[in-house]
Each structure stands twice: as C-alpha cells, then as structure tokens.
Symmetry: C3
Amino acid sequence: MSKQRSKSSRYKRYWGLQGWKVCLPLTAIIILLSAGVAVAQNQASETPSDYQSLKIALDTIWVVFTACLVFFMNAGFGMLEAGLCRHKNAANILTKNLIVFALSTVAYWAIGFALMFGDGNFLLGINGFFLAGPDNSPMTGSDYEGVFRSLNWTGIPLNAKFFFQLVFAGTAATIVSGAVAERIKFSAFCLFSLFLVGIIYPITGHWIWGGGWLQQLGFQDFAGSTVVHSVGGWSALMGAYFLEPRKGKYIGGETYSLPGHNLSLATLGCLILWLGWFGFNPGSTMKLEPEAISHIIVTTNTAACAGGITAALATWLDPRNSHSKPDPTMIINGVLSGLVAITASCRFVSIGSAIFIGLIAGILVVFSVEFWDRIKIDDPVGAISVHLVGGVWGTLALGLFSEGSGSSEGPVKGLFLFGGMESLKQLSIQLLGIFVVGVSVLIMSSLAWLLVKFILSSSLRVSEEAEDDGLDLHEHSMSAYGGFLFKQDVKQEVLTERKRNN
Amino acid sequence: MSKQRSKSSRYKRYWGLQGWKVCLPLTAIIILLSAGVAVAQNQASETPSDYQSLKIALDTIWVVFTACLVFFMNAGFGMLEAGLCRHKNAANILTKNLIVFALSTVAYWAIGFALMFGDGNFLLGINGFFLAGPDNSPMTGSDYEGVFRSLNWTGIPLNAKFFFQLVFAGTAATIVSGAVAERIKFSAFCLFSLFLVGIIYPITGHWIWGGGWLQQLGFQDFAGSTVVHSVGGWSALMGAYFLEPRKGKYIGGETYSLPGHNLSLATLGCLILWLGWFGFNPGSTMKLEPEAISHIIVTTNTAACAGGITAALATWLDPRNSHSKPDPTMIINGVLSGLVAITASCRFVSIGSAIFIGLIAGILVVFSVEFWDRIKIDDPVGAISVHLVGGVWGTLALGLFSEGSGSSEGPVKGLFLFGGMESLKQLSIQLLGIFVVGVSVLIMSSLAWLLVKFILSSSLRVSEEAEDDGLDLHEHSMSAYGGFLFKQDVKQEVLTERKRNN
Amino acid sequence: MSKQRSKSSRYKRYWGLQGWKVCLPLTAIIILLSAGVAVAQNQASETPSDYQSLKIALDTIWVVFTACLVFFMNAGFGMLEAGLCRHKNAANILTKNLIVFALSTVAYWAIGFALMFGDGNFLLGINGFFLAGPDNSPMTGSDYEGVFRSLNWTGIPLNAKFFFQLVFAGTAATIVSGAVAERIKFSAFCLFSLFLVGIIYPITGHWIWGGGWLQQLGFQDFAGSTVVHSVGGWSALMGAYFLEPRKGKYIGGETYSLPGHNLSLATLGCLILWLGWFGFNPGSTMKLEPEAISHIIVTTNTAACAGGITAALATWLDPRNSHSKPDPTMIINGVLSGLVAITASCRFVSIGSAIFIGLIAGILVVFSVEFWDRIKIDDPVGAISVHLVGGVWGTLALGLFSEGSGSSEGPVKGLFLFGGMESLKQLSIQLLGIFVVGVSVLIMSSLAWLLVKFILSSSLRVSEEAEDDGLDLHEHSMSAYGGFLFKQDVKQEVLTERKRNN
C-alpha cells in the first residue's frame, strides 16, 4: 500500500507541472516504474498427470476463447456508441473506444489487477502489482502458492487469468464512453479511464470477486451485473451529471431527440456485444464445465431475446401514442439490458426465469431512458439505462429467481422459488451490495472526475464552438466521413420539400 | 400433438380479436404456457471416467465455439441484406434481422426443437416442448435415456445441443428477410418468422435430421443444404411471390436495377458469413473429430473460393456484354452460393470435388439471378438464388461427388466416383428429398403467408407511399443515416453534370 | 521441380494468346491440372491412446479456433483499407480484399504450401503440390511419415495444418492491397496475388519455417514479423513504386492529404485485426500449450496497447505543430504496428519488453509514414510503414529482448538481457535474414510486377479518367454507396460557408 500511495503523489506533482493534455504520459511513467519489478512466476513444481495437463489445457482454451469474445466487445461498444451519436462526433467516439482499451491494459496491469485480486484485506488487494510476486498457477486450491489467492479456484496460467479479467475491466470503461459522448474532452476521458480501470473498478471488484467483505458476506454476482455493469453505469452517471447535457437536448421544458447517424453500425455493435456476452457469461466459469456453460449460454441468450422483444412491444404499443412504432434503437437497448440483467444470475436461474428477467429489463430500459431525460441527465446512447438500471435489476433478480447452487459458495434458492427466510437474507445482502457499491462508486467517480478537472486545469467539456462544429474537427482535426455531404453542408433552399425524416 | 393443436386454435381466436400489430404478443403467450411445464433434466447417473469427462468437455467447447460462429451469422446476414438494399429501408432490414433471432429463440424453444428432434413418429416429434421431459445427456447411444433420441449420438449437455440447433434455425428465418425486403410489413415478417422457425423448418428438419422418413430412407444432408438453406429459400420464394415486386423493378418488359446503398456493409456481411460457415459445417459434427473437422473446414473454404472466382469470371467475361466488369455483389453471392452448395456434402467430398461444386454454384447463382428477374420474382438481395438454388445443387452434388463414408449411416460413393447402382439409388433419394421438401415447404409457407395476412387483416405489403418514402420512415419513424444527405434530398438543378454512377 | 517448370511455361503460352483480363482463368487451369493428382493421405496406422486422441483433438480445436480468428482478419483488412481510402474507390478495394483470399486459397493449395512446407532442399519444397503425397499426420516427430516433415512437430491432421498456414498466406496478399489502392487495375492485383501467395511468400517462408537455410542458421521469427509482414511489406513497396503516386498526392514539393472516407470502418477493421492477432500469435504454437499461449496473448495485447498510446502521443505532442491533435488513423496504425512488431518475439519476451517493443513501433510508424511521403512512395493506408517497418523492427527486437527459450530450437537471450556474444550472433543472423529476405522479395516481387504488366500487355495502373471518377465506376460499373450524395455531386455555390472539414 505504501508503495501505491507514494506513486500517486508522484503522479500529482507531475500533473501539476505539466498542465493539461498530458493524460497519456501517465502510462509512460507506469512503464518506467515497472522496470524495477522482477517478473518472477514460479512454475508448477510437480509434473501434472496426463489428466491434469489435459484439464489445464481445456480450461485455458476455454478462458482464452471467451476472453477473445469479450475483447471483441470493444468493437461492439465502438460501433454501437458511434452509430448512436451524430456523424460530426463519430471519429472522436471511435478513437475513444479504441484508445481506452490500450489505457485500460496499462492501468489494470500496473495497478488494477493487484488491487482487485491480489492478496490483501477485506477492502483491497495489496500484492501483485505489475503481475509480480510468486504464483504457481495453474495449481489450484491448497496446492496454489502465490499472491492471487482469490483466483486459486481456476486451474489456468496466471496470464490467462489476467487477460480474462483485463477484458472485463476494459468493458467498464467503454460503458462510460457512451454516456459522456459528444461533449467530453478526449484528454478528460482518457484520464478518467485510467482512474476507473486502475482504481475504482478494482476496489469494488475486490469486495465481490477478490475475497473482500461483500464476498465474505455472501453477496452474489456471477458474471458482473454489479461488478462490471453497475460500476460502469454509476461512473457514467456522474460523468453525465458533471458534463451537463449536450446543447439543444433540453430546451425549456422540452426534450429534443438528437438522433444517431448510423443504425447499421449500431445494430452491428449490438450483435457483436450479444456475441461477446457468450464469452462474458459462460466464460466467467473460468473453467470448462460442460453443464454449466451450456446452461449459461442458453439463459444468457434467452434473456437477451426477451429484452429485445419487450422493448419492441413497449415502444410499439405505447398507449400514449397511437402512431408509435417499434423503435430500433430501443430494441437494441432492450437486448443489451436483458444481457446485463442476466449477467449476475445466468448460472443459477432456469430458462423460464431468464425470460422473466429479460422481459423486465426490456421494459425497464424504455422507462429508464425517459426518466433520465426527465431529470436532465443526458446520456446519448442510453448507457446508464442499460448498464446501471439493468445491472441493479439483475443483481436483485438473482435473489428472486435463483434455483440455488447446491454449494456453500453459490446463492440460496430465490424468494420466488420459495426460498423462505434464507432467500430474504440473500436478498438483503444483494440490496446492501447494490447500495454500498452504488454510493462508493458515486463518491470515488465524483472525486475522479473532479481530479481530472483539476489536472487538466480546465473544463471537462469542449468549447461551445467545438460542440457545434463537432468534436471530430476540434479534437482530431478530421471528419469521420470524408467526401460525404451532410445536411448542414448545403444551403436550406436547395433541399427538396418532400417529407423529411430528421 | 393434441396440445399443439389446441394451442394454435387459441392463437387464432386471440388474433381475431386483436387485429394487426399483435404478432409479438404471441411470444408472451408462449411464455405463459411454459410456466406450467416443469423443467426436469436428469443428470447422468454414473460418474464418468476421466477420459469421458474430458471428452464431454471437448465436444461441448467445440459445439459452443461453432454455435457462436453460427450465431454471428446474424450480424453477417444483417449487414449483407442491409447493404444490398436502399438506404431508405436500411433501418427496417436491420431491425428485422435483429428481432428475428429473438423471435426464433422463443419459437424454437417452445415448439420447434421438440417438433424437430423430440421423440415422435416419422412425420414429426411430439415430445420435449419447452425443452421439458427426461434427458440424461451427455449420455450417448444406448446409455441415453430421454425424449430427444435423435440427438443421442452426440455426448454433450442438452442445452448445448439446443443452442447449436437454435442458431441453425435462426439462419433459415434470416434468409427469408432478404428476399422480402423493402416492401414487407414489419409485423408480417415477425409473424411469419414465428411460423417458419416454430413449425415449418422443424417439420422438414425432423424428416431429415430428427429420425423422420427421409432419414430412414437414406437421404443425406450433412450440414443443411436442404434442411436449412433450401427450406429458407422456398419460404423466401413464396414470400417474394405473394409480395410482388418492388415498385420500379419491372417496368414494361424491362428489369431495372435498384442498387444497394452500402457495399462496405455487404462485403463485411459476406466475410462474417464465410467465417460463420466454419462453424456451420465443421460444427455439424457436433463432436470434436479432428480429421473430420479439419477436412470439412478445407472443403468448405475451397467451395467458397471457387464460387467467388467463377462468379467474378462469369460477370467479367460475359460474352453478351463487351464492357462487362467483375460485379462485386455477384462475387459476394458467388462465395455464399459456394458455401451453401458444399454444406450438404462437405464431410464426404474431396477438395477437388469441393472446387467443382463451388465452381458450378458460382455460375448457377449468376444465371439464377437473371432467371428470377425474367419471371418477375423480385429478390432484392439474391437470397433465393443463393440459398434455394445453391441448396438444391448442393444436395444433388452429394450424390455425385461423395467419396462414401465407410459407414451405414453416411452416403455411398457418388455417381462421378463410379458408385454404380448404389449411387443411382442415393441420387434418386436425394432428388426425392429435394422434391418433397420443396413441395411441402411451398405449401406450408404459402399457408403461413396467407395466415399472416388473415391475422393482420391487411396486406402483407406496406403502402405505396411507405415504399416511396422508405420503410424506415413509415415502419420505424426514423432514418438509418441521420444527418447524411441523399440524392433525393436536393433539387435536381444543383447537381453537377459530370458522369454519375447511380 | 520439373513438373513445376513445365506448368509455368504452359501458363505463359496461354497468357500470350489471351492477352489481358485473363488473370482469373489461371485458377481454372490449376484446378484441371489437379484432377490427375490422386489425393492419398495415409491415416495413422496405430490406434492412439485415450490421452493421445484427446491431445490431438485439443491441438486441433486450438488451431482451428485461431485459424478462424486469422481468417477474420480478411474482414479486418477489408474494412481498414476501404475506410482509409476515398469513397469512389471503396467498392474496388472491398472486392479486391474479398477475391484475394479466394485466389490465395487456390494458389496456396496448388503450389504454395508445397513450396513452403513440402520436403525439398534448403531453398524450396518440391513435394506435396495439391496437398498430395503421403502424410500420416497427426503422427509427430519420428513417427511422422510423409512429405511435409517441416511441420511434423505439431500433432494435428494435415488439413488443419494447411488451413492454418493458408490463412497466414492470405494475410500477406491483403497487405499489398492497401498500398496499391486507388490506382491499380483489378486484374493486375489479382494476378500479382497469385504470384505472391503461390511463389514468393512460400519461398522465403520455406527458408524460415519450412526447414530452409535461414532456419538451419538459427534465424528466429515466431509468428511471422518477417515471414508474413515484411514479405507483404516489401511486395507492397515495389507495388507502390511501380504504380507511382495517386494523382494529387504530391504536387510540387508539397504532400497533400487524401483523407479516407469512413473512419468507422477503419476503426472496426483495426479492432478485428487486433482480435485476429490473438489467433495469429498464440495460434502459431500450433498446439495447445497453456503457459505459452497465455503468455503470448498478453505480450501481443500489451505491444498493441503501447503502439497505440505512443502513436497517439507522438501525433498529439508534435513539437513542430502547436495545434497538433491525437490522430485517429495514426492511432490505428500504431496499434497495428505494435502488433506486427511483437509477432516475431511474442513467445520469448517479457511483458515489460513487449511494452518497449510496441512503444518503439508506435513511434516508428508515425515517422515512417512521413518518410515514405518524403521519397514520394504513396501508400494510401500506411501498409508499408506498419508491416514492413514494423516487421523489420520486430525481427530485430527479438534479438534484443528475448528471454531465451531454454531449447536449442528457440532464440538465445537477447542483447539487452545481457545475452553477450551469443546474443550478438543471434542479432547478426536476424539482420542477415532481414536483409536477404528483403533483397529477395524486392527482386522477386519486381519480377512479378513486371510479369503482370507483360501478361496484361498494358499498364498496371488505371487510366487517368478512371482515377478521377473512381475505380468503382470504371472497374466495377457501380458505386459503393448508392443514393448518398458526395461533395463532388453538387455545385460549389450551394455549399454553406461555415468552416468545413474536408
């Protein structure tokens, strides 16, 4: 810990000297700091049996395969968020979503993974920075000797564990990207991502997956409805709050739609994310358990379908609007919301329950989008509705629908499956976890946003002119779609008069 | 069966009361119906040996991996079909291709999988609705006890079998989407998809893969040239027939090209589909057989290449047109046609034969597109040419080129490999299967299209105004490309006079 | 060899008769020639043990999975290159990138794989054309009996070996596509690709991976920084040199930017390539070694991140330009350059070294792009900077940073790890390999480009008019984006006067 503290104070001095536009050099420092750390990984001392060596190989390919699917979610988020924003900001969003995984990798390797899974106390890990320290993975259980004991239940090499957890951590940062889009400075986003992935995400993650106090209490979140999605969502919420709405979004009492520029990209993004979730959820077994992964892939898919269908219906059959139509972007968000919601409980619920969880998620997302607009939290892509609201619902739903796990590690039977007092206790712990993680991330991310502002000694937000012209021009001196002609490019009088859709 | 019949009559009453725009609630009913079904899956009673448990794990990861590739074909079809249609209908097509897998999931889980693979008779399965009923997978062969005996040859959990078959079923529905694009009502397509995936596809599928009469007769279709692609193709043909051509496609005796809006998307879609086929065909082993999957991936790829190359040549060296050029959309369809054609026989033919099969498929698709235009069947993306014509050719080709399988289950040596009388018998069965499946799907899909029309009590087709303005505006109140300027948006006189390409 | 020679002379006569526009029929000939070759693959004669059969299955799924990722790089290159070029040439580039893998497949199957991995001498393989000849894979080591002894270290079926190597070979050709974009004739590119994948790539590949003289000397290139990327890069360099710059690129002493048309595609392409590299590098083990693949995936990812970050910084903090911004296309190229650079050494370096290798690659690519512009080598997408410069750096870096391999096959400790004299020897061999491969590919690809020109009896380059109007119109009679309006489509006076970004 002391090493950690001295490092962050050194950062502050550096930032104080250099002012803004310096968020990326942070990584350079991290690299330099790491130079002194000897990377020493003990190999398993005994030769494993044939069965063991095949088992390790199987578990490793499973984790690598699913990690690749989760990594691909970077493309999914990139396409989704770019597609749902205006063309004049597309290059900016795409670049944010590309660089953020690079920054996440450095931050999580240097600090995050250690804070989250390194041996430590009930609040955070204090070993294993830069992946250093003893570790005899793929040894498991009591055979494991090393500083990442919270991951000693999976028999794969340390690097595979790290890579799988890294792609998860990257997800949290891309969630924020969408909610703060079309107005945040590129430098501010980069800097915040380092804090989120290096510090905030790992701390709450340690509580739930790293052996911390919520895990000890029995809080259950199988693949990260809370650990990943709510945490990303709460951070996104504070970002959207600090940044204030985009120009033209709320005028007087009215909410104006600022429609995205490319539904092809957004739909592609949604399908890539859907695919990615077949890594995210089944992969969270972190070993190849045939029954479990087959079950999880079906519950995951089913909840996505239910979410998409109910979001379609909710927008189609809107009683307040007789001309309502099935809304493509809401169907996309319904699918994603169903996926987020099933993430906590995918291993422990039946297909029927998965339908119900997705169904509620699909309705929630529609009303949630309206809710945030009502309180003037401007979230261009609906990230807060999908990941925060969906994540909270999913974490609760585990307490309602769990079939039980038949093990002391997993959840008890849920309330709706007549789990009785035990289930009420589980539900209370779920609620407690949701609440405490929410408050903690609100506080930590607020501090981080303010710190970013301080470091840049300027606003988090681009100038009004930049917002008008588009961030692509001001932040990157380019256009995402060179050669194309846009509505704003021609004089009004040359446009034909036929009915126009936006 | 009686349960089945009473359900469908209940549906009809419901639809009669509510009129149109209610196709999606069907799914809600299915969910409610499922509530009473106890999901009881017996686990394997004996502990498997180390070898067995590793084998099960290997087979499961293989099926899950390939199922993920096939799932990703949803993105492939979405991008391909959207790209080949006009921009004003892009949002509609994308949304259709997104929601259709959600609807397919519900229909196939509730009804389809049971009709197709559930124990029953030579015509259809009558057990296993909602995946219910005993099943001790991953036990195989005579150790298997359960209601899905037609899948007892693969040693993986039931949920993995279901998911793999589900992504196949979803494919059939997305094939239809392309052929009926740019004029079908969103509600009509949704409703038809439920019928196709819930009833039509499973019935003919049962005949060939579920233990039905064609399978007993010796009909061979390894990965679904007929089961998936032709069935989708016949349904698409009837859809295109009932819907009639798009406005402006055939005027007088002339056929006009209505070019797509985005070749980038279409090419991406083609490459995603090509990738997906490495799941589709090798995955159809449903177990990890190294020799077989290695062979299949090579024959599959080779046929795709041959199809693409000959389609390029056929459009490039067209003797009727001295200025002919290699046509990008036709190359795409040539690749896909090669893939469809090799699907039936990929396991049983040599690489040389795969080239020949793909080569013919690539030529067929070019002439087939012309043929459908001549009889005024308007298929915006060429789906009928690719999936129906390619599927029929592929099913026949198995009888011509098969190397034999060395097992009583597989095909005999093909006619061109001097299979003699045995091969003529095989070929006759292939022809019989093609014919009977064709006629059956023509009848069933016609009934389904008419039923959809009846349920909606209106035309399957959008209004003329909607077709002119684009389905995006009328069916979804949006534009897929907000902010972009299109040719129709500006007055004619401001356009420059230089040579224009559409 | 004699068979080989007679074949090529037959080709020449054919070409002489037919003139231009005939590059594709080459494939037809190859197919016909192959008809006489009996495909005889001996199966393993002994029944393998349970352990062995599971090991073979595991290694096969690993190679198939990673080969699928590498195949998907075709989509990555297609999207990247199309996105970085102008809209009027998009269809052409997309079609090139689609057809090139089809052509590569035929060329590599017929000739390339045999030249590269077939038994032969220190210069090239002379056995195994059309995959024919004895081969008892998956037998390994001294149990292996067949004509592909250079691949006898991996215990998978021959078809799996072939498919994995095929997708690598395809990569080399797509590299060239980018550098020659926007001005090369479609026919010229197709023809050159056949030479590259069928002859050039396999010959230098044989030297390094197929048992040839560089491999015997101890040259190290784990996954192909030289074998794949530099070879593609040198060929691209000669292509760009022979084709001369695009119109408007260099006028007087000035370099003009001709910005791409779609950063969404380019970013998607970059992320797909990044994903593909998780197949490219870890898959090059060609067997499932848990420790190795876990390590490789982390070093690969880390170098990509470092490359992206330093490219961002280098463009952002450019001391010569106080208004410089982080350049999205350069970040993309930085990521790719990092990936190319780590390819040679990914297995043998620490994470810290991977950061350093990527970091240098990210800076190199920025300056390299400027360098080629200064000497008027016009490379529209930066392919030469990424693949050639990155590949050379990566091959050298192995000699600097290697941790040693602990085996006589792998590299010794690198110079920066105090490898001493041994490391200097390794470094010399690396330099020798870089130099000889460079010179050889420069010569062979120059001959190939000239031969293509001779065969087509015309320029490699499209007419000036075609370049002005776009290759899409002249080479494919179409537009990639039908219906969209472009800047050139409207008269200047209707454009608004607000600040325009290209």
